[in-house]
Symmetry: C2
Subunit: 356 residues, 2 copies
């Protein structure tokens, strides 16, 4: 007998690489290529550092209030965590305690099965169809909960709102989590359905459209009951998760709607241009409504392209997994970064004879 017998053994999630080198074109973790709102800089540069000796507001009140106002909800309908991963992990722990399996697609955010394993939740992966779309009837069976990313990752495509509503409505004995990390780039949010369905939890993040991945802010929105249960678990885990600087920076970001719309608009414009260019180079892309493109070349294997790009310090994401091993997930960078990517691909594929 050893202490090691009582260890919770898990296979952790593997995030995209964060290279320390400069000069890398980093299109592998769906970060925003533009800075956060300028008011975030002001918060940092004028911060009263003496206030750090006190604990932060454990209720994160100012940020909760700002988000509630932004989304037209009450403060009792908003929960803030350390990035949407923290929020989702906490939600799995809080709401998925049935003996029946929770359901999510076979191709989706690859943290879902990690959380299920960590929290010892039975789960069942439902295959997407050949177009990477969810099959509605797969989510109309008995279950212990449902989690869907919309838009989905890494495919980028969206599920029709009427299909999602039908799934939420049919599953009022389970909590349905809608992971909307990428929704600001052209998806339609389920937030308006919160008033109708007590069992719907919608999760969003500051890491993509708000350009604050380094600050770690995610949040959930739902019925007052759901949010209360989530807070009970959070306050049983760690009373103070969001630090004082982060609360103030988060509020500053939410208040500047014009800047938010500007950078999201730029990312969308770049994405649509790059989709056209990639098609010209022989790629098939899903109809991504996110800040990334999911692309497969008609002849050159994704793995080969991934490695060729990496050798040129252009990082994209590649998974050697069933069904998606011939796809690259390419984050939308600046116009200039995307030009470098396209230029490299044009030369590479030209040398391969693929553009003749």
């Amino acid at each position: 007998m050893s202490w090691e017998n009582n260890v919770r053994r898990v296979v952790p999630y593997v995030a995209g690489e964060q290279p320390k080198k400069a000069n890398v074109i980093k299109l592998n973790t769906n970060e925003c290529p533009y800075p956060p709102a300028p008011e975030v800089a002001a918060i940092l540069h004028q911060f009263d550092y003496d206030s750090l000796r006190k604990y932060p507001d454990q209720n994160v009140s100012d940020l909760v209030a700002a988000l509630a106002e932004y989304h037209g909800l009450s403060k009792q309908q908003v929960f803030v965590g350390v990035g949407s991963d923290d929020v989702l992990s906490m939600a799995f722990m809080t709401f998925f305690n049935s003996d029946k399996p929770i359901l999510f697609p076979d191709i989706t955010y690859s943290f879902y099965d990690v959380w299920a394993e960590l929290h010892r939740i039975p789960y069942q992966c439902q295959p997407l169809d050949d177009n990477f779309c969810i099959v509605k009837k797969d989510y109309l069976i008995e279950n212990g909960g449902i989690v869907l990313a919309n838009p989905n990752a890494p495919t980028g495509n969206v599920t029709n709102m009427s299909v999602l509503e039908e799934i939420i409505q049919a599953n009022q004995e389970s909590v349905v989590i809608m992971d909307e990390a990428y929704v600001d780039f052209g998806g339609e949010s389920c937030v308006p359905l919160i008033e109708k369905y007590e069992n719907l939890l919608v999760v969003q993040t500051f890491s993509k459209s708000r350009s604050m991945a380094g600050m770690r802010i995610g949040y959930a929105m739902g019925s007052e009951k759901l949010i209360k249960y989530l807070n009970d678990v959070k306050f049983s885990f760690n009373s103070y998760t969001i630090n004082t600087v982060t609360i103030a920076a988060g509020v500053a970001s939410v208040k500047n709607k014009a800047y938010f719309q500007e950078i999201v608009g730029k990312v969308i414009a770049t994405r649509e241009r790059v989709k056209v260019e990639l098609a010209r180079l022989g790629f098939a892309c899903t109809d991504s409504k996110t800040n990334f493109i999911f692309a497969s070349h008609k002849t050159v294997p994704a793995k080969e392209l991934f490695e060729a790009l990496r050798a040129q310090e252009i990082y994209v994401r590649y998974w050697n997994k069933p069904r998606i091993h011939n796809y690259l997930r390419i984050s939308i960078g600046t116009e200039k970064e995307m030009d470098s990517l396209l230029c490299f691909l044009e030369n590479y594929l030209g040398e391969c004879g693929e553009l003749q």
Copy 2:
């Protein structure tokens, strides 16, 4: 059947009040009365806010390295989390998975039983003796793990190092967690025992002696094996828990040893003076080696004093719990704050006729 049947229902921890009013003398949550190291201000005020668009270093490498150097350990022996509560909660989840109960004192940090309930860990509280000391033989029985605060909270007193080593040595089939949140104020750390005992995890925090409660940094030190298991669980929960600003601010704090020693020295000097003054006013105090005093008046009930102080905007901590319902926990503030407290008590007890 409702979704509510599958909710994890818990009774959350209740932290000390964080009043929003100014002019409060806040001696209720063991915060440091002095600011963080001045280099922390420089980090904030010169921060490159554009870097926030990228995810932070998920390995928290710079802060891990600084702490490893400070404590004379390797980087593989240090784990950083969002305050010591996050570290402890994660450690409970990682190491306490036995059917046998974990052991901790009846009077100790009141989050331990909350974590046990949250993570569904069986537990057994071992009564402290009449002097609030742990009874060694209570920890030499079969168990699923042990957690001890040293110095203990809210009593403030320390357990002899030889007793602790005997407990650690006798329990090599369990993980023994030593919660050293207050150790810098005069306790003796178990860190030197890490090299001898693979099953020992020592947890410390930036919230007290480093005056950074608002920044949320805690850390664990232990054998490489323990730290690896802890990281696996962390990376299965949330890859990026410590934000970019926090990492830099934490490093700045660790590097300034002189300032750290200065403010810790001031807190200790104030504590010892206040102990003497309180004795003069008829209080019995434990021999606290922390940044708080645990005090009981010989005639006036603690609850009455707590309420009288609160009416004067002097906040201390009081628990209406068995064995400690006649004690106040008073954090050490500035000399001036403690003078206000003592002055009020002198007048109040004088009026009560207690000083005649």
